[in-house]
Symmetry: C2
Subunit: 452 residues, 2 copies
């Protein structure tokens, strides 16, 4: 059990307790910590006044919590996740990733923004409403999963199994970003994702690069050439058919993107680079929101230690993910990429393919009645109308919510661009915990007030 | 101190004791083991009847040992090294790399072939001659260094300082390969080497590949593209000027190479690959002996653990070595490569260059009187005239022996093609310890017998 932080206000103590669990879903040695985090959440929901339980999935468990259901009221599904990314590279953290630390008005810890801070804000909002008014303006059901960071492999089963219990009018999710610090944002599109790991295999064992070099294909060179083959000189993805299904930006979207309070120069500063890169003909915000990518997230082979080792390695490993936009299909993309790699694989090298998780891109209409209710709630809390944003990240299960539960989602992100989600020194502004609590109350009220 | 192996003959016990030292020169945490190995060698030489001592270098020490010098006799410098390559990947060893194990008539351990077995054979040869005859047919001075695997950064200083003590007529070195198992081989050329590590640096910290991917240059992609740019489609090195100084093979060399008992198919089997690769227009044995290369020995960046991490990494590291042939100059090559990488570096990426050790390629005339003496010694011990070979490995200090001491070298290698030097399961045939001992005695006699 986490120990309480002694000198924080109660909501921050709670936040710190939540963050102390190293609930890293991709690392099996953290399974016990991940489950302990879910059990902690169940107790938190129960203390809030909701019925709550662990829902086993075969993998990391889900937490399901709901208010008593009044058939006269609309029902809102609030989704989030308690699992987090690995903290590597750990040495770049200014404070340990699982020892939450407040500095400069922000809470620093792995998962602070993605997604513990954001889902906690909703829990705090519901708790306060129940404490002050004794009842909620809508029926609420929380679904907080433990496998978002590994592609939610077991969530579809849960949605199918709990179809009745999770039936709702709309989903509300805070797991996206604000377009600029403090600028209210309604995200109406997210990119999809497809993951593929591959190995280049050459000689049966590592060879001496003097004795064999020049006559034997080097698996690292092959891996590098295959990665290089994924893009053309201008920075576009060079996999055949990759852009075939990409829906061009509508005129109103181009206009909305141009009106966002983020210039390429702002984007460059937040990214911490000396120059931007990418597909010609698009702004940075369009490149990350509306254009697909091929990224190498990890590559390794040969000698990694101090100094030199004149080895011709027997293999190399490449971890790729592709961010996809409407109407690209992840399985089609993976097939195209595998065909591309096989076509470009040099003689003397064999390929081993490990396709990973994937999820479809998501898009909805921000001008629907629910979209407008969300915009009103954001304006009430932040004092200005929200930016309408296509975001670059992925919440693969949004497609499953549509397909299985028939639910669209209101994406009310609370992450600032420099909150370092997935990076060292991830952090969450303390004010966003407070604003998120208020936003939960406002959006539930606005949804309740919609005409039948 | 290593413990003696209880059931081996004395020379094998000695060999096993030598191999137990993890004298990995590139790993500073092994400095004490490396020095202990040198001290063990000093005691061995002293027990053999030579004067021996540690010669400090500022890095890992050299061991110098010599017979009392008779001015009437020729003098032979016998060079070797007691340092070894790192054993990575350790999990691929069938027995631990520093627990020498005899299997199938071979001794398995890191350094068994490169170079502990080969230098020990010479020590055993001298010891036996002294034991049986009381004196040697030539004056002998051993120089056994501890930094060969890291490019002998301090050896030139030793050669300069001990010029008088190391003065000799010829050098004898067993640190090369036999062209086929048991086939006597006189190596007359070795490739040079130049090492370069570089980093591609992008964002100040790792970024979320969803939030930023598509608008920010990925340092791993950049590293892969730079590595890919080093070769053309056909497999030749694509660095401008790289081949300018390459001396073409002479007609007699082409003929000698064609007559070697190693077909491309033999080479393919020993390499353990399903197809050979490399520059068009050359046999495998020519590619490794007479043509230069650009090899990537290590590449790493991003997430290396289990599963997926959707990170856009802030940097990547590439370890390169170039094998060079007469008359390429290592410093010129490094300048050309650095210029090439800078020219091809994409926007948004900065490069950090760490040039490493280098050594010039080596070539001598196998038909000189000393060359012929070596051929006669090889024929006496192995029963057939030796192959004349250009070898792909590097002994960078051969150029220094020529320049500082005025010495050519007779390269009498005892390594079989499948002895896995620099690889897991490195091994040395026990019969080669015996044949090497005899070869030492024969070559010293043949050199003594040369007309004045």
């Amino acid at each position: 059990m986490p120990t309480p932080s002694s000198c924080l206000p109660p909501s921050l103590e709670l936040f710190a307790d939540f963050l102390r669990f190293p609930s890293i879903s991709t690392q099996s040695e953290r399974d016990a910590d991940t489950r302990a985090c879910a059990e902690w959440l169940v107790r938190l929901f129960q203390a809030t006044g909701l019925e709550a339980r662990i829902e086993e999935t075969g993998g990391h468990p889900c937490v399901v919590a709901s208010s008593s259901r009044d058939p006269q009221l609309r029902t809102v599904l609030i989704y989030g996740h308690y699992d987090v990314q690995p903290p590597d590279p750990v040495e770049e953290w200014e404070s340990p990733p699982f020892e939450p630390t407040v500095r400069g008005g922000r809470m620093f810890a792995r998962g602070a923004t993605d997604n513990k801070g954001q889902i906690l804000a909703h829990i705090l909002g519901v708790a306060e409403t129940l404490r002050e008014k004794g009842r909620l303006p809508v029926n609420v059901v929380f679904l907080v999963e433990g496998e978002e960071e590994i592609g939610s492999p077991n969530l579809c089963g849960v949605l199918e199994r709990l179809k009745g219990e999770l039936a709702a009018d709309i989903a509300v999710i805070s797991d996206t970003g604000m377009v600029a610090d403090g600028f209210p944002t309604l995200t109406f599109s997210l990119r999809g994702i497809a993951a593929l790991e591959f190995k280049t295999l050459g000689p049966a064992c590592d060879l001496h690069s003097g004795t064999f070099g020049g006559a034997v294909a080097n698996p690292l060179t092959a891996a590098a050439r295959l990665v290089a083959s994924l893009h053309d000189e201008a920075g576009a993805v060079a996999v055949e058919g990759f852009y075939d299904a990409v829906r061009p930006l509508a005129a109103w979207e181009k206009e909305a993107a141009a009106g966002l309070p983020v210039s390429d120069e702002d984007f460059r500063k937040v990214a911490g680079v000396n120059a931007l890169a990418g597909e010609p003909g698009y702004s940075a915000i369009e490149r990350v929101g509306a254009r697909p990518t091929a990224e190498v997230n990890g590559l390794s082979g040969g000698y990694q230690g101090e100094g030199t080792k004149t080895v011709l390695p027997s293999s190399a490993t490449v971890k790729l993910t592709f961010r996809l936009v409407p109407d690209q299909d992840p399985e089609t993309i993976l097939q195209q990429v595998i065909a591309h790699l096989e076509k470009h694989c040099p003689p003397g090298i064999r390929l081993e393919m490990l396709p990973g998780h994937h999820g479809a891109p998501y898009v909805t209409d921000p001008h629907s009645p629910f979209g407008r209710a969300a915009s009103r709630a954001l304006e009430r809390v932040f004092g200005q109308p929200p930016a309408l944003l296509r975001e670059g990240g992925s919440i693969p299960i949004l497609g499953d919510f549509q397909r299985i539960l028939g639910l669209d989602a209101l994406l009310l992100g609370l992450a600032w661009p420099d909150n370092h989600a997935h990076s060292p020194n991830e952090n969450f502004p303390l004010e966003n915990l407070e604003l998120g609590r208020k936003l939960n109350q406002a959006v539930l009220e606005e949804i309740a007030a919609l005409p039948q």
